[in-house]
Symmetry: C2
Subunit: 256 residues, 2 copies
């Protein structure tokens, strides 16, 4: 079996690695009108590796780390991203998930026990893309935002992990007000609707959306209106976190 | 270190076990007015093991199995329960989660690599208690339903896993109509309210509950009323699964 001409150089602390469990991070980056995901291009020179060059940022956990700490460290080591909230969402454990031949070549080059079965615990996060500039390191040659409509063939079962993360994100958006972190403090209902449309990947009826969101009773209408727009200026709103918390915890909230 | 006088006898196929990853099952059993959880008493004769005799049903996965298959097999091997829907909800990976001294004694007796770190993937399920009669086998001496208000000190981090499962269950109850499987096909709103009260561990305002649940628009009122009760007979309802699915998938449902 062919090996890489040179080993990727910055695989720090491999002696600490637990060869049986990894973490993978699905970082969604929102920008108006598009939802992207953070991918890495792996440090592969050999032309045999043209397929599966891309993956989610992920690696083996260290034996002395809990899973959350591993996820934060690995994301930082590969992409320089830090200070974001990573939510564990699923463990993937197909016995053959790292055993395709293209993946085996990569693993032979970078791991001590390339044939071991690896269970991966997957995390996701949703951030405002502009707030995070990835910068590749370790065995990542590039770290970049890729539109979820243009995802290439990824290593291992990473396409499946990404699909699963996207489903989790959509479900969460339906039951918790996560979209607000992606907007400026004061926003229009139109802006809010576009957040929902972008993440859900669908078009929403304007009147229906407004009625439902205002019924929730945790949007605070302001006296101010939008500035500097050519069209009719829309009213601005703020998200009322306190009101939301009290609605959620106070009375029995039968939300489905 | 002391070892057990006799090895538990029916630890089948230990040569297939992956010593690094386990699954644990939190099976909630509902009966009117009480929520219980399925525990096992482990096969321990030595009086030194009086603490931590109890645990959730769980064990190491086999190397050729995916996680869902492992969970089903292990639950069946220890408690004879099968044909229930197990939902994965979280992976627990504290590096020291199996390393307390009481746990170490047990592991020394039953495992080849007792000191290995073990990550566990936890599953839960909610069933009608009357439909499932557990029967202990393998290293379980007993398998029994225990009220969630009387949970003893459990092995490893199983108390924490149980708490986490209960939170997941409550969250799910708030966003999906899972309570209906626990009731007869035709039920009164009072019965339904008691399902919610039992699982959420709280008392709900009757009028408020009725208004909210009827607003959801997937309860079908029947012409029939309750039979054989001494008090005023209440109207019976059916859950309208079809209506629920169409409400959920059809239009944008902004549920939080």
């Amino acid at each position: 079996m062919k090996t890489l001409p040179t080993q990727p150089e910055t695989l720090v602390n491999t002696e600490l690695q637990n060869p049986h469990v990894s973490v993978d991070c699905v970082i969604f980056g929102f920008e108006e009108g598009d939802l992207k995901v953070l991918l890495i291009e792996r440090n592969i020179d050999d032309s045999d590796f043209q397929s599966k060059r891309y993956s989610l940022p992920g690696n083996l956990i260290n034996d002395n780390e809990d899973l959350d700490t591993s996820a934060k460290r690995i994301l930082r080591e590969l992409t320089s991203l830090e200070n974001l909230y990573l939510q564990q969402f699923y463990a993937f454990g197909d016995p053959n998930r790292v055993k395709s031949s293209a993946d085996a070549q990569w693993l032979n080059a970078v791991r001590d026990v390339p044939t071991a079965r690896v269970i991966t615990v997957a995390y996701y996060s949703l951030v405002k893309l502009d707030d995070y500039q990835p910068s590749a390191a370790s065995f990542a040659r590039k770290a970049f935002w890729c539109s979820i409509h243009q995802i290439p063939d990824l290593a291992f079962d990473h396409n499946q992990i990404l699909d699963s993360a996207l489903r989790s994100l959509k479900n969460k958006l339906r039951v918790e007000p996560i979209g607000f972190e992606l907007l400026p403090k004061k926003f229009t209902l139109g802006q809010l609707q576009r957040v929902y449309e972008t993440i859900l990947g669908t078009t929403l009826d304007k009147r229906n959306f407004r009625r439902k969101i205002l019924n929730k009773d945790f949007l605070k209408p302001l006296q101010e209106k939008q500035k500097g727009v050519p069209h009719k200026r829309a009213r601005l709103f703020e998200f009322d976190q306190e009101r939301y918390e009290s609605l959620k915890s106070g009375q029995f909230s039968f939300e489905f």
